[in-house]
Each structure stands twice: as structure tokens, then as C-alpha cells.
Amino acid sequence: MTQPIAWLDGPHWPYLALILFAVLPTEIWRWLAVAFARGLDADSALLDWVRAVATALLAGIVAKLVVSPPGVLAQVPVLVRVAALAAAVAVMALSRRRMMLAVLMAEAVLIGGVWLFGAI
């Protein structure tokens, strides 16, 4: 457990910590983007690159969450986690992109996998 900073500690500490160490480091990029986006054309070549980098970053977050997952998800075998994501992509490819079906299939594989193979 990370302890509160002593001279700022008090009943409001969790909220202060949230603002300082979670809201600001996240929100700053959205604010900077407002400055950068001014004058950018909606279909410029630069935006194609920006969109590709954003897509790759989101895909990277997915990979990181599966390889080093939070909380009780870490107790699920890694092969079951990967199989769940593979099932989601397979359903998207084969079902003309039915999102709900893909999510349900991935969840079924994950929950079924834990039942079959047990937790670590």
C-alpha cells in the first residue's frame, strides 16, 4: 500500500491523490491535443499517421493488459486470456462485425476456460 503524503494527509486525501496522480497525468494529453488540433484538416496525411499511432497504442494497451493483467485476472492462465481475445477477433471476422456476439464469445471462452483448467 502506498501511504499518503504526510503533510497533505486527511479525510480528503484519496480525492486529492486521485486529482494529482491520476486525473492530471491523463487529462493533460487531452488538453494538449486541443491546442495541436487547431487548424488541422480532417483528412490530412498527418491525421492518417496520428490515427494509426493511436490505433497501435490502444492495441498495445490490450496486449499489456493480457500479458500483465490486474487483480484476480492474473490468476487466469495466460493461454485462456489469449484464447478469449482470439475468439473475439474470430467472431468479428466471421460474423460481419457483430460486436455483442464477439464480446459474449470471448467472455464464454474466458469463464469456461477458468472452469475447465482452474485458476493459477
Binding site: Y15, F21, T26, R51, T55, L65, V103
Partner: protein, 264 residues
């Protein structure tokens, strides 16, 4: 709880059987902004809002685990509005990381919002729009509003896009705040397979949203390269820089893959 989301989601899947139907005009040009905002909220509630909401149920339980109040969990959903940042915040506190390390890790994981927001704001921009409105709009940028916005906004008339986007995003945020609140009290009581299933909803939903938004070979390359390079960079670079390095390499290569395809 799980059944409710699945039920409503199935209803959404029934009314929108396929992608062509999904891409139809969801608003009419002569509608008032109130009606457009409601249409945005309705489209969100047809599926995406429920998935984000269930995806953020896990945040409530992570906050509960470190003894933080339920208000801080719900506020994190409203003010941070980024699943991975919230996971990092509460999971790092549980792991005993230094505050500076927590802030830096979150800043690096959130860098994606710079390109994401830069990419979507031109779709929402109108002449004479104030900076304050743009700052407000930028706050709602997260995976759902981004992937769904890039897909749904272009066919909508320019002056109706802001109310549609705000209706859509606020519906997602309201459901998610309720989900975080419920997770704070409920998730600890769930059997492991279901608790793990809720926590895994975030990466599953990210991947499904990204797949739904793929338009050409360059997008596919960005997705696949990002998936492969991120764990490799985490292994060999680390130090918080790994994700952004992976994203820059994968995104740049993907643009060239897309270009070559267009030229051919």
C-alpha cells in the same frame, strides 16, 4: 447483474444485425439538438455504454481493495475516464509504488489521448467554436467515444455532431459511474471466474471496438503490430517508455503499409 448487461446487449444486437445496418444515418438533418443528443444517448445504450459500464465495474473492486472511499472510485470514472489509468492508479497503490512513479506511469499510458483527441476533434469542430467547448469535448475522448465517433460522426451533419457526441458520451459515462459504484460493493462477492470475466472485459472491449473500426489494410497493420510490439517492447525497453515506442513504430509502419496498398 451480468445477465442484465447481456440481455440489453442482445437486444442491441437484434436491432442492429450487421455492420451495414450499423452504419445507417442515425439522425435526421431537421432534428433539434435535444433530439439529436437523445439519439446519441440511445445509440450508446444500444450496446457500447453497457460494455464500458461493465468494464469499469472492476475499478470499484480495485478501489475497495485499497480501502479508498466509494466516492473516489466513482469520481475516477467521471474525471479520469480512462480504464487503464484507473487500473494503474488503484493497482499501483495496492502494490505500494511511489506517488511519482504512479503519476509517470499513468502519464505514459495516457499519451495515446494526444493522437486520439487530435484525430477526432476536427470531426467535431465548427467555425467560431470556443476553446472551452473543445476542452469539454476532449474530456470524453476514450476508447468507446473515439472508435464509435470516428465511425458514426462523418455521415452526421456538422452542426449536429457535438450534441450527438455529448449525448453518446454522457450516456456511456452515466452507466459507467453506476457500474463502478456497483462494483465497489459487489465484485468481492463474485466467484473468481466471473470476477476475472469482468476485469477482462476492458481488453476484450478495446479489441472488439478497434476491430469494428478497421477500414483498410493500414488500420489492420497498426492493430496487429501494436498487439505484437507492445509486449516485446515491455520486455526489452521498459521504464514506462515501452508503450509509446511500440505505438510510434507500429503506427509509422502501418501508414506505409496503407500507402503502398493505395498506390498499387
Amino acid at each position: 447483474m451480468d445477465d442484465r448487461g447481456k440481455g440489453s446487449g442482445c437486444a442491441g444486437a437484434r436491432t442492429r444485425p450487421s455492420r451495414p445496418a450499423d452504419d445507417r444515418m442515425s439522425v435526421s438533418a431537421d432534428w433539434s439538438w435535444q433530439r439529436v443528443a437523445l439519439a446519441g444517448a440511445r445509440d450508446a445504450l444500444s450496446l457500447p455504454a453497457w460494455i464500458v459500464g461493465f468494464g469499469l465495474v472492476g475499478i470499484g473492486s480495485l478501489a475497495h481493495d485499497v480501502g479508498y472511499p466509494v466516492g473516489s472510485a466513482v469520481l475516477s470514472t467521471i474525471l479520469v475516464w480512462a480504464g487503464p489509468s484507473q487500473v494503474l492508479f488503484f493497482a499501483s497503490i495496492a502494490a505500494g509504488a511511489a506517488w511519482s512513479a504512479i503519476a509517470i506511469a499513468i502519464a505514459f499510458a495516457s499519451l495515446r489521448f494526444l493522437p486520439m483527441t487530435v484525430a477526432i476533434l476536427p470531426l467535431l469542430r465548427r467555425p467560431g467554436q470556443s476553446v472551452w467547448l473543445q476542452l469539454l469535448l476532449s474530456h470524453y475522448v476514450a476508447v468507446t467515444a473515439w472508435t464509435e465517433g470516428l465511425r458514426r460522426l462523418p455521415p452526421i451533419p456538422l452542426r449536429q455532431r457535438v450534441p450527438y457526441f455529448l449525448g453518446f458520451a454522457n450516456a456511456c459515462m452515466t452507466v459507467s459511474a453506476l457500474g463502478t459504484f456497483a462494483g465497489y460493493y459487489l465484485l468481492g462477492t463474485l466467484p473468481l471466474p466471473f470476477a476475472a470475466g469482468l476485469l477482462c472485459l476492458t481488453p476484450i472491449f478495446f479489441l472488439v471496438s478497434l476491430t469494428a473500426g478497421l477500414r483498410h489494410r493500414g488500420d489492420v497493420a497498426a492493430l496487429v503490430l501494436g498487439l505484437v510490439l507492445a509486449p516485446l517492447c515491455e520486455r526489452f525497453i521498459g521504464g514506462g517508455f515501452d508503450l509509446i515506442v511500440a505505438g510510434l513504430i507500429a503506427g509509422t509502419v502501418a501508414v506505409f503499409v496503407g500507402k503502398r496498398r493505395k498506390a498499387a
